[in-house]
Symmetry: C2
Subunit: 399 residues, 2 copies
């Protein structure tokens, strides 16, 4: 990615740095180094990578080990010289990631290595905010009860709607919620930790950008499509999720595919959601809503005409809508998530080809399309990752 013209310097950077911050930042750099590494590094490896002295690296790492933010593990003999003590992200540090979906709630604990330590899903009978949030808090407590002494460092919640800075869910069309204080409802569970609430699309995108806490994914600039009942989008540049002004980065579902298309609840016509949303695809393919993700591709391959039509509809609508997006934001990589992550490779190829034809810059940087790697609870994982981000950013607070 090209440098944006100059980096305005009136950001958080314009605060004085003191010696304590220096130590803080070096601790953070070390944790980042351990998380980023593909094979567990030693103190000496970190020192050379970060160009600090072994002395400093070792002293700081000792503190991190004492705080269990990183673990020392045996490393297989690698060559001559004194064998190194390899370092891995601490498995004793976890965050709780929660997610509210239209008909279920999810709660999981993820450790600094990105391993899902505890995982729970509970269907919700009613969509009443109070009962849903009660169920969510109950699952969260169940998760915490199964942690066997691991240290919880944060709580994140993924919600399908527009969110305020202070964790209120302003509007969730598919839940029918208006102005629900999600952070407030979960604060009793979180205790002194801040409850980090964000849009599920952003959370899922975050997992694609960073498959494990602090470890960058293979692409650092892409548009992420999270498809479920609603269709959302997030933009990732330089490995960072760009959230819009209300954390609903992309109302991608309401990009116009065809002005003369079917009416949408949003008041417009021919919105993307009416072509690739779960409801729409269930109707066209003839499948049950829960079977769309797994069934559409195989059925089409077996010759099911309705599923073939559904795939063609997805291909057409996505290539039209994403062409606009790619042209507008100048990012030519696309990751498809949710039930679109299970589209057959041939469909992905078709989408890519049609995008190439519609996108201006494709001659210079061809469009790339791939399926999301996260599981169907990516948003909950992302919520946990976000909460773990505090440890990566300021490990000093935990030593």
């Amino acid at each position: 990615m090209v440098d944006a013209p100059g980096t305005p310097w009136h950001g958080p950077a314009s605060v004085a740095v003191r010696q304590a911050n220096l130590r803080e930042r070096n601790l953070a750099a070390l944790v980042a180094g351990v998380c980023r590494a593909t094979s567990p590094p030693s103190r000496a490896d970190l020192a050379t990578e970060l160009s600090m002295t072994r002395a400093t690296a070792a002293r700081l790492v000792d503190e991190l080990v004492a705080a269990k933010v990183v673990d020392e593990v045996e490393r297989e003999r690698t060559g001559r010289g004194r064998p190194a003590l390899a370092l891995r992200p601490g498995s004793g540090i976890v965050a709780v990631g929660l997610a509210i979906e239209t008909d279920r709630v999810l709660a999981r604990a993820v450790d600094l290595r990105g391993d899902v330590v505890v995982d729970r899903v509970a269907p919700t009978a009613s969509r009443d905010p109070e009962s849903v949030l009660d169920a969510l808090a109950r699952e969260a407590r169940e998760v915490r009860a199964r942690l066997r002494g691991r240290r919880v460092v944060g709580v994140g919640v993924a919600v399908p709607g527009i969110v305020t800075d202070d964790g209120r869910l302003l509007r969730a069309p598919n839940l029918g919620w208006n102005d629900v204080d999600v952070a407030g409802a979960l604060q009793p569970f979180a205790g002194r930790h801040r409850v980090l609430v964000a849009n599920e699309a952003d959370m899922a995108a975050f997992v694609e950008a960073e498959p494990a806490p602090g470890r960058p994914g293979d692409w650092s600039d892409f548009v992420h499509v999270s498809a479920a009942v609603g269709v959302g989008g997030s933009i990732v540049t330089g490995g960072r999720v760009v959230a819009g002004e209300h954390g609903a980065a992309g109302e991608l579902g309401h990009v116009c595919v065809d002005p003369s298309g079917p009416a949408c609840a949003c008041g417009s016509t021919g919105c993307l959601e009416r072509y690739v949303g779960l409801e729409a695809l269930a109707a066209v393919s003839g499948l049950d809503r829960d079977d769309v993700a797994a069934g559409m591709g195989p059925r089409a391959a077996e010759g099911d005409v309705r599923c073939q039509v559904a795939l063609e509809q997805v291909t057409h609508a996505l290539s039209v809508a994403l062409a606009s997006v790619v042209n507008v934001v100048g990012i030519s990589s696309v990751v498809l998530g949710g039930h679109l992550a299970t589209l057959p490779p041939a469909t992905l190829d078709a989408i890519q080809q049609r995008l190439d034809a519609r996108v201006l810059g494709s001659r210079w940087t061809p469009v790339r399309v791939r399926a999301a790697r996260g599981d169907d609870a990516a948003a909950a994982t992302g919520a946990a990752h976000s909460a773990l981000g505090d440890v990566l950013a300021r490990p000093a607070a935990w030593v």
Copy 2:
């Protein structure tokens, strides 16, 4: 703006910080403080604002004054106590901002205060890359000859096209250029300074985000439309310009307004550029291309039917195209630049109202539309600002 879910920490932050960096960063923080301030601050003001001691602030500021990065000025007596020595960004530090347009080249020198010190414009007879770049270098040298001992700290170039990391202009449709090494051509002029090449739309957006170097504008999150012969767009979040993968953040001009509209050179149909680009508006309004910006509004007010039609066309096309953009990126503020900056207020209001009707989130955060503040050489100013950014980011290199 809502925090994006967690900030991935594998960025530039994962480098060890040494004591020298500490000093560097504090120097940068002080310069930023001086630039950001609305009224010239004293050493003591800066110390309290940045929460460092007066001792440190004074010591570092002394170095900055010696290097002429900041100037000491008399401050009018404000109250009792020892009178302060006020500080302003140094007027002796300038950067040269260059711009290539379809039929002219621009060169200006801008100092750290944001004042344009020297300004030159030269029409170009041919569009041959070599002759245009020669003319540009000539104007740049003219500018430098008039600087009277001011110190040049960088060179920036705004170009109407897609740019690579190393300053090559891959493609500029309206110039008919392909793969021209702009940075290389200007390197002899720039000497040891890096030649910073970026898209004109991004450069112009930068000026809106930061009207003077280091001073944040009134909006920090907006979509910027730069309209000329081509129509470009840039996205600014958190005061930073988000450049796409090839620095052509937004090919906004090729967002589809109406699939059944007129054919566009890009191969598609009904592109925004065909409705609000200079050529299109000149044709509809019956005005000369150079008179569109200044003439369209007044003529329409006087009852010129063709100009009224043109304004209506602009209103319609912009509200359709921008609705997509606003929905996609979740940023609901729009700044119109280029010849769209002179649209009459009534037209801006009309665009805003139609956008509100089309944008989902407008109930929560209404869409705001305003005209750009920059002059018609905003891109050149932005190029200079970008180059000055080096001084703001690492003043230590200049002391």
